[in-house]
Each structure stands twice: as structure tokens, then as C-alpha cells.
């Protein structure tokens, strides 16, 4: 098997430079590549375009890179729960392309699946449809949407092996598997890095072929955005 292991987040992101287009996994703060984000913050790489469902919260996740103005443009579906994101968007400091969540997920999948465009009903008759081709199939109107790709995809998994195979846990899976397929270079950080052959081939969510660099992340905070307990 081809060995994909690197020592650290710093080594993994070594080739990311100013102006790169990144995909960053996660939904809210769940399943985000904490180590890679911290390394981008520390290295101060700027002018980034980030494709990510959210931008974290004000002081965690991609919100950290918004605070430092390292992000030029966000492609996301949801801004809520992040005041700095909303403020920068409304003031025009930050370019934002808002995309319906299912369309975002499917565009990323398409990017990794060699499908340049597809039709979806989401957004017909709304701002999202402006400038886009529409077509009727079986009496229903659909929008044509195009694939999304990135220079680098940064994903977070629960377990990974040295061959780059990944298994996610719970709802921390979310956008990570599609993003792993759509990065020109894909960097995976995992909580548990194991030797190839340890994971059951039948349970792997992301095949190693998609992963270029993998490392075991450190000090996962896994902050909870909305801790809710049974009353």
C-alpha cells in the first residue's frame, strides 16, 4: 500500500499558499479539521477562498481565520451563529456565495465524481436561480448547477490508516467524505491513525486513493456549539 503519513499539520499544509481555494469539512463545529485550521492560523496564510458549510463560530473553527482576515471569500450555506461572519458579509469586507446546503453537498460530490453539471430543484424561483439555466423535467423546473473543486481539501476523520482510508464518526461525517474526493490535494487529520489492514475494508467511508497526506491530530477540543441536555 502507498503510505500517506506525514508528521504534523504543518508538514501537511506546507504547500498551501496565499490565495488558495480550500474545502474545509464540518457542520458547525462538528467534524472540523481543528489541527489544520490552527496551522493555517499560525502560518498566517491569507487571501483564502474557503468552501465550507459554515464558518465555525466567532472564536473557533474557521471563525478564527475570519477574525484574522485570512479569508477573502466563503462559499457556504449558513451564516447563522457567527456574528463576525455576518458582519463581514453585510459590510462587504468578505465575499460570500451562499449556496443551498444540498446543492453545496452535491456540487462538491460532482467535483470529485467528474460530473461537471447536474440539475436540482433547490432554489428555483429564488435569488439562487439568478443567471442560471433552468429546465423542466417531468413537469417540474430544475436549476443547472456546476461542480466545485478545490486546490486543497482539509478533512477530519475519526480513524484513518496509513494508506489514507478514513472512517468518520456520528454526524461528524457530514461534508468530509465528498470534500475528500474534490480536492486536488486532500489532507486528512484523524483522531486515531492505525496501520493499513487494521480497518475493515467494508466499513471504510473514504478510500485511500483520495487522500494525499494523513496525520494524527493533537489536542482535539471538539467544542460543542449548543449543548442540550434532556430535561
Amino acid at each position: 500500500m502507498i503510505n500517506k503519513v506525514v508528521a504534523s499539520a504543518y508538514e501537511a499544509i506546507a504547500n498551501i499558499s496565499n490565495g488558495a481555494v480550500l474545502m474545509v469539512g464540518g457542520f458547525g463545529l462538528c467534524g472540523i479539521p481543528e489541527n489544520c485550521i490552527a496551522a493555517l492560523l499560525q502560518k498566517g496564510i491569507g487571501e483564502l477562498t474557503c468552501i465550507s458549510n459554515n464558518a465555525g463560530i466567532d472564536d473557533f473553527g474557521l471563525g478564527l481565520l475570519l477574525q484574522t482576515k485570512q479569508i477573502k471569500k466563503m462559499i457556504s450555506s449558513y451564516v447563522g451563529e457567527n456574528e463576525e461572519f455576518e458582519r463581514q458579509m453585510l459590510s462587504g469586507e468578505l465575499q460570500v456565495e451562499l449556496v443551498p446546503q444540498g446543492t453545496l453537498a452535491e456540487r462538491i460530490r460532482a467535483g470529485g465524481a467528474g460530473i461537471p453539471a447536474f440539475f436540482t430543484p433547490a432554489g428555483v424561483g429564488t435569488e439562487v436561480a439568478e443567471g442560471k439555466e433552468t429546465r423542466t423535467f417531468d413537469g417540474k423546473v430544475y436549476l443547472m448547477e456546476s461542480w466545485l473543486k478545490a486546490d486543497f481539501a482539509l478533512v477530519k476523520a475519526w480513524k484513518g490508516d496509513t494508506a489514507g482510508n478514513l472512517i468518520y464518526k456520528g454526524t461528524a461525517r457530514n461534508f468530509n467524505p465528498m470534500m475528500a474526493t474534490a480536492g486536488n490535494i486532500t489532507i486528512a487529520e484523524v483522531e486515531h491513525l492505525v496501520p493499513a489492514g487494521t480497518l475493515d475494508p467494508n466499513q471504510i467511508h473514504t478510500s485511500g486513493i483520495y487522500v494525499h497526506h494523513i496525520f494524527e491530530g493533537k489536542n482535539y477540543e471538539k467544542r460543542i456549539e449548543n449543548r442540550t441536555i434532556k430535561s
Binding site: F27, C30, T120, T126, F175, I224, K230
Partner: protein, 219 residues
């Protein structure tokens, strides 16, 4: 006028045995509390879970298990996990029997607006545009009027739309209303102690009142 809990309680009556249901953020999330435990209902959370369970107790809290509102949750027996592309494939496939959403405005032809107030507030559409474009059966949970008394059940939405002609039913703090295929809000039930004239005044869009309108019943 109903509390948000009562709105949720009333909507829960629309849920039938054997339904797969997607609940939006806010009041819709509360609906889960009022579905009888004897009923076989499966909740979908669009961030990648079919079979959402109750909120966890302290020991069960898992940062890797949240719902679309980013709340910690548990899984029901028989649950399954999947990625976001598969989740919205499921939503677009039409296999979800009922979708419950919040709204800022609904028009008398069933258009819905719930994601943006130009220049003031942008939450983003999240999964709402996908949900309303694909769901066969959409119920909206909303306040009938804004805080300054303006109707949110309109002839035509004033805010940027989320979807066209998709809302089938509304449960507001004042009433239960069907959105007719031919246009117009048909009044089905009144909130306790709310008269039809009050509802008529609070509804800018066409309100259709046929015969006696019963009061909502709560168990």
C-alpha cells in the same frame, strides 16, 4: 394566542404513524417532544442522521452527534448515519413524508421566505431551499404577525424567497390554515379564545372562512 410550545404541540398532531419527518430549526425542533412514544416515527436530521433520538443526559453527550440546529442529540434504535450528499439525496428523493419548517413570511400561493432580510440579516438558506423544493408535504410553524403587528401571511412575500408554491399548511400562534392549490389561506382551526375576525385582521393574504371554525383542541 399559542406559545411556541403549543404551536409545536398542535403540529405534532399532523404526524402519522410510520412517517419519516424532517424538523427544521426552532419551533419545529420542539415538535419531537409531542409525538406519542407509541407512534413509529423516524426523524431525519439533514446533517446526516436518520433516526434522531431524544436529547442526551450528561453522560451521553457526544460532540460528534448533533442535529441540524447544532444541538447535542442521541440516536433512536435502528438509526443510520450518512454524509451530507446522501442526506440531501434522501431529501430530494421524496422519501420524507413530512417536513416542518419555520418561516418569516408565507404568501397565499404557498411561497415561503425564511432566510434573509436584505441589508439587515442573513442567516443563509442552509438546507431550507432543498427541503422546500423537494418535500411532498410541508407544514410551516410561524408567528402570524411581526412584533409591530404586521401580518406575515401575505398576498405576496416581500422578503427574498426560499421556495415557490410549496407550503401546504400553516400552524401559527393564531390559527391552523391550509394553503389552497388555487391560492388563499383556508382557516381550519382557531387558537383558543381567538375569534375569526381577529385572524382576518391579522392576515393580509386572502383568508377563506367556510362554516364554523373550531377551536384547536389540546389534550
Amino acid at each position: 394566542m399559542l406559545t411556541k410550545y403549543q404551536i409545536a404541540q398542535r403540529i405534532a398532531k399532523e404526524v402519522q404513524d410510520g412517517f419519516y419527518v424532517n424538523l427544521g430549526i426552532g419551533i419545529p425542533t420542539l415538535v419531537a417532544n409531542y409525538i406519542p412514544e407509541t407512534m413509529n416515527v423516524v426523524l431525519q436530521s439533514e446533517n446526516g442522521l436518520l433516526g434522531m433520538g431524544a436529547f442526551p443526559n450528561e453522560a451521553e453527550v457526544d460532540a460528534d452527534l448533533i442535529n441540524a440546529g447544532k444541538q447535542t442529540i442521541t440516536m433512536q434504535v435502528g438509526a443510520s448515519l450518512f454524509n451530507s450528499a446522501d442526506s440531501f439525496a434522501m431529501i430530494r428523493s421524496g422519501k420524507i413524508n413530512l417536513t416542518i419548517l419555520g418561516a418569516m413570511e408565507v404568501s397565499e400561493n404557498g411561497d415561503i421566505a425564511n432566510w434573509k432580510v436584505p441589508g439587515k440579516m442573513v442567516k443563509g438558506m442552509g438546507g431550507a431551499m432543498d427541503l422546500v423544493a423537494s418535500a411532498k408535504n410541508i407544514i410551516v410553524a410561524m408567528q402570524h404577525c411581526s412584533k409591530d403587528g404586521k401580518s406575515k401571511l401575505l398576498k405576496k412575500c416581500t422578503l427574498p424567497l426560499t421556495g415557490l408554491g410549496c407550503v401546504k399548511k400553516i400552524v401559527s400562534d393564531l390559527a391552523v390554515l391550509a394553503v389552497l392549490p388555487t391560492g388563499g389561506f383556508q382557516l381550519l382551526e382557531r387558537a383558543p379564545n381567538v375569534g375569526t375576525d381577529f385572524i382576518l385582521n391579522a392576515t393580509e393574504g386572502k383568508l377563506i372562512i367556510e362554516g364554523e371554525i373550531p377551536e384547536m383542541q389540546f389534550d
